[in-house]
Symmetry: D2
Subunit: 292 residues, 4 copies
């Protein structure tokens, strides 16, 4: 879930409420706040704590709520875990520390320390483009044996890597391996993956839920139809301008055009200007997103 | 300056006091806390605030004190600036946000917003290996025109790049360009640089001050002698083990062997084990660091 | 196809004959020589010319024969095209020049010049790990309009990228988009791809042909069974030792163990030593490669 | 030395003659043909052989002539060595194979095999931006012990790395360590380097010879003056347009404007268009290159 902001350091409460209800109405199976799409590491702790509390209260257990606690400081991550537990969240999600990079042995030590102390189950989050480090598949395997480490989200975009991880952790029952980039939700599920944590579901939750079901049902015709829609969203909404944040700008702008929440971004980024917003409006008009 | 820690989230007060006095006794011209060598982004805010206050109190204006405020959250950076100003620090140092990367235009916007609001002068800090982004020389030039942006520290290790920056900002009076890696202190000063912010000065402050003076005095014979010592430190102390933190582990271990402060590191890193500590002890014995 | 070598600069004629017959007996639909797996750029021109002639003669049109002409010299590439045409090859395959890297505009100019002068149809070959450059999807689209450019092989391993290319070239009839890494043959075919050029088919041609058919037939149960075998080959045979060539060493060693051809590699690589060969033998024993 | 071309696959004989005489008149101490600036790997073998013969004949032993033999095929490299020896060249220069990358052990094996068979002394050439691999300093040390490996050219641009290599090979008498990028000729010589192989010397040979002498003489005032000129050439002539070859385009265009030789480049590159040529003309007018 994106983090709706009224100002760079102020939560958009009404927008957040709208967005939560909108996403839940799409039939999704869980909600992940304060991830990369949620601009977690770009927000002040005040906002991170506030959103955690707010989201827990609104979701009220209708679906599992996962809270991103990725930080460069272990202590701050742990503090946010405790807050999330107090608020009633279901699990936390942590990418590796990302200023100082850890080698694989250090990654294992880091996550074991975190999981030992965390009152909530910990999801591993692979995001090498942002953290400069990849979990080796063997590292995921080792960590999957910890009783408080309960899943893996992979945003590397690498389907070969994804399969290697799946092969190594499949002996762990109830250890879901989920994919980040929605463009390969279908392909990774067909490769043994258990689902997706897809940013596009902020805008079109039914679409990704439909793809999840079609893939579970092995309904290839439907998969082809849905994949075409997913790729069109990617090529039309995530490619505007030249900011490294163009994907995120596209999602937030679309949500604003759709009347759901504000399009403000945390620094160092800015919302789309009027011209780029027009491009988003046009894209939304031409996208055929009807899901039967 | 490294951050002496008694435990992963506890400052080593006695060690910090020792270290400050030791470094200052070496004749250095300024002190930089909470940088990369200071493990800034790996520490809790509690520790960062505490160390800022503690160091300001101990240094008491004997040399300028610069505080690292690098963070992925603009708001948290700004909050730390305000604390540093309250404590009496002289300036702050900020590397770019490092989870989400900014393009050059976004970097300019980010630093202008920071400098506009900062009660203290802002130093730019280039650290591409950790932040995934390089300041374009033209970006440094643009930012150097802001009245509250007052210098540039470059830890890229790229002497060609360094010279390009120097050429573009030399029309700004009083805009020092300093180098991070001590192995090229001499070469960058001969290329128009104004000095160094060198981690080795935690252990051997006199050596780097001596090199600074020798280079200012164009005393080539002395420069050769000192450079040999600097490279020996680099090759003997910063190459032990295979952690990405081996440089930092080496510095902290040496300080511990020298009886100055604890060698504890913040997660995801660990202090050297007994065997590696022996290697450090041997290296310290064989290094000829006498400075006449 | 790998290039069987008796010595570093001597073709293994008997082995080459064996290998061609063995691969063809597996039902493959085309043969690609002098690619990356064929060590093309590592071989002398003498060997490249000789193998081209030899393979054309042995294959005798039973399947299309594609010849790799990747080179850093345009003139040498063109000369090899002409030789391939004289020998009766069906098409040539060219990765971008890889010492000097071209930008997208230069790539377009390069391939248009090549295709204009080539007596044989030209396949584009994306191999960024070796050439340091990716074809932008738009570049593939532009080049696909050239009448003598007739297909695209993608060895980037990036399924998101693959889909973007497929979407842009699908209006070109008869412009196959093929995948290099066999681990994602199934996934890319389900994403609109037309097949694979897979190194594992040197050892187990029937397996990859079976996967191709299963995917065309949307026989999902069979796909799962075959994908498991494909991933086992990858994890057991392509991960031995620490050479950047371990994949290639694994394939050639397995072919030698199977009695098909020599395992000699061109410099800078070497064949597996006795211990690693044992690992290959064991892997071949335990792999269940029976294809019904 | 750049390779003057009349057409993409035709040597500019008159231009080559002019260029050799012009460079030699500048007082340089050796001539290196078919390197990166010489577009070696982009030229056909015909041209490489022809230029080698032509240059040997013209230089006639007035200065040592070094021939670049960098190739992805060991056999072709060796064949060019033999040709160079027949023509009377003094040494050969080889960057690592650059399609398939070698690990350090394979690099050692590769160069030992080359040096064992080469009738001419072999210079190592580090060019990681083009070859994707760095010689580890320890690898240079090991190879420096081979009697037929006689020097090292480093074009990494990394002065810290350069010093590590210098420290490890200094016990080898007569093993020069030279730098590629002219922007750091002074700094690397002050760090123990023995000179430069600088592309700018095609246009302004006296300038780089003067810097070499000033640095040998520790004439710091002159070094400052010359370094300013060197950086101006770099910032004005090597930054035009957006091709990865802009440095090379700038050098060849300047030589053409100066009436020395043609500005044609081998594919995938093109000579500057009229507008960019004007920029070069203006730059040449405003550069103050008078060397007293």
């Amino acid at each position: 879930m994106v983090t709706p902001l009224r100002d760079r350091n102020e939560l958009d409460h009404k927008g957040t409420e709208n967005l939560i209800e909108y996403i839940l109405s799409g039939g999704i199976h869980g909600l992940f706040i304060l991830g990369t799409t949620g601009e977690g590491p770009g927000l002040s702790y005040e906002i991170r704590y506030e959103l955690t509390k707010f989201a827990c209260k609104r979701v009220k257990g209708r679906v599992p709520l996962l809270v991103g606690i990725t930080d460069t400081s272990f202590t701050e991550s742990l503090r946010l875990v405790e807050h999330a537990a107090d608020c009633g969240a279901d699990a936390v999600v942590a990418a590796p520390p990302y200023y100082f990079t850890a080698n694989q042995q250090e990654l294992i030590g880091y996550y074991q320390a975190l999981a030992d102390k965390s009152p909530l189950p910990v999801f591993l989050y692979n995001m090498p483009s942002h953290t400069k480090v990849n979990f080796a598949p063997e590292t995921v395997q080792t960590l999957s044996e910890h009783p408080n480490i309960t899943g893996f989200k992979d945003s590397s975009g690498d389907v070969i890597y994804f399969q290697k991880v799946v092969a190594l952790v499949k002996q762990q029952p109830d250890f879901p391996v989920l994919v980040g980039p929605e463009e390969i939700l279908m392909q990774t599920m067909l490769s043994g993956g258990h689902g997706g944590v897809n940013g596009g579901a902020n805008m079109f939750p039914k679409l990704y839920v439909a793809m999840y079901k079609a893939t579970k049902d092995m309904d290839f015709d439907r998969m082809q139809v849905l994949q075409k829609k997913i790729m069109e969203i990617s090529s039309k909404l995530y490619t505007i301008g030249n900011s490294p944040a163009k994907y995120l700008q596209g999602v937030k702008c679309a949500l604003s055009v759709m009347g759901i929440c504000s399009d403000t971004l945390a620094l160092p980024y800015k919302a789309f200007d009027a011209e780029k917003r027009k491009t988003v409006e046009k894209a939304l008009d031409t996208l055929d997103l009807e899901i039967q």
